[in-house]
Symmetry: none
Subunit: 131 residues, 4 copies
């Protein structure tokens, strides 16, 4: 029963609701099969403690993922990833980055940064920051 080897990173002051941040991260991890069918997610209380967040917030995220069909509630055991999830194609996963990249492009233009500058800088940043 893999409890919480998952890396969740929250940005509390980003304006994006915490439950949405959680949902998006879990969705990405199922898309990449870092969480597979049958895996159990950390319990509401455990994750709440770990992230220093109200348990109701975790519960809300789990509830919505259940409604969306990604998770299933198992009485007495917790939330389990449903069997239908499978690793999505690389194209599909890259496309999930589209909103972020469009934002990036828009911000570059507003900051008057050109393509080569930002691409070179991104390469550097990736080398530095990639864990």
């Amino acid at each position: 029963m893999p409890l919480s080897p998952f890396i969740f990173q929250l940005a509390p002051s980003s304006g994006v609701p915490i439950y949405r941040q959680l949902m998006e991260q879990i969705n990405r991890m199922t898309a990449s099969q870092q969480i597979k069918a049958g895996d159990y997610l950390p319990s509401v209380r455990q994750l709440a403690t770990e992230l220093d967040v109200n348990p109701m917030t975790i519960s809300k995220a789990y509830g919505l993922l259940e409604a969306q069909g990604t998770l299933k509630r198992v009485r007495g055991k917790g939330m389990v990833v449903v069997e239908s999830t499978q690793k999505q194609s690389i194209e599909h996963r890259l496309n999930a980055l589209n909103p972020l990249v469009n934002d990036l492009i828009k911000q570059c233009q507003q900051l008057d940064i050109d393509q080569d500058q930002v691409l070179n800088w991104l390469k550097e940043q990736f080398k530095k920051e990639w864990i």
Copy 2:
């Protein structure tokens, strides 16, 4: 001639408050001097109509930018960019992209996409989407 040649793009469902999106965009445009000292911003009502948003929302953004020292109220004429703003260095502007890039890196890892894949794809996307 306080027209509105500025391109504001809102993401209403992003969770980021509209007034914040506006503030950030205006801050970026002053950082790149696409809006220069002495320029007039579009009027509250005009921008509200253009973006289909309540005037008070625009007004809140302008008011906070005034409190922050970026804009100044000119009676009967509108909001003008203060004189002290100047174009910021390319390093400074690239650093403004940091939060977005950290997000990008995090999402790639959660989607199990490796560095070369994403960098190549970014190059393509930039060529396609850059206006």
Copy 3:
């Protein structure tokens, strides 16, 4: 125990915006440490009811005091005075009265009242009205 032992006095017809009156009074009370670091201000809704004012007006004042660095939002608990505030020197606090005193002097001159007359009268008034 975020109660409301603070006395706010509004002058609705003074022309000074309500949110500004609130901000000024709160600033004075932190300057004199009648509100100390860690104290909770009355909730938006409570103060709105108490002062018979729209909640958004209170909220605007609190929001600006937060932007100004005097208050901090604590999720689910309310607005708390930040730790950095300290009692300001008597000189500093007296100087805060400058605009009012300049106004007083100007009005005396326009009313053809001389210095001794007004100073004696002020002494009396202070004795009578001081709570």
Copy 4:
């Protein structure tokens, strides 16, 4: 025809509407007979130029003072102080300072300044600032 020997002092950013500041100042000057029955006020245009204010603002103040019975419009000559005004008693004029003094007392209390401190300081300020 005494044109504009009057000293008007405006505080444009005080939040008090300019037309009200004007009205109050003119009322004080009639109360003290610094402006007497039969005196002509400066013309709208002249005062507007002098104070760097929109003529409509002056006009509004004059109009309200006319409605209030203090001034009278004389065709082709301007606004004249009506005959009924007379110098008011010193008590009456001191009472006109009441709102300001109540404000002063309130601010002192909120700033935790005691009576003797403020009275001594006021004496000094009066000596320094009185023109």
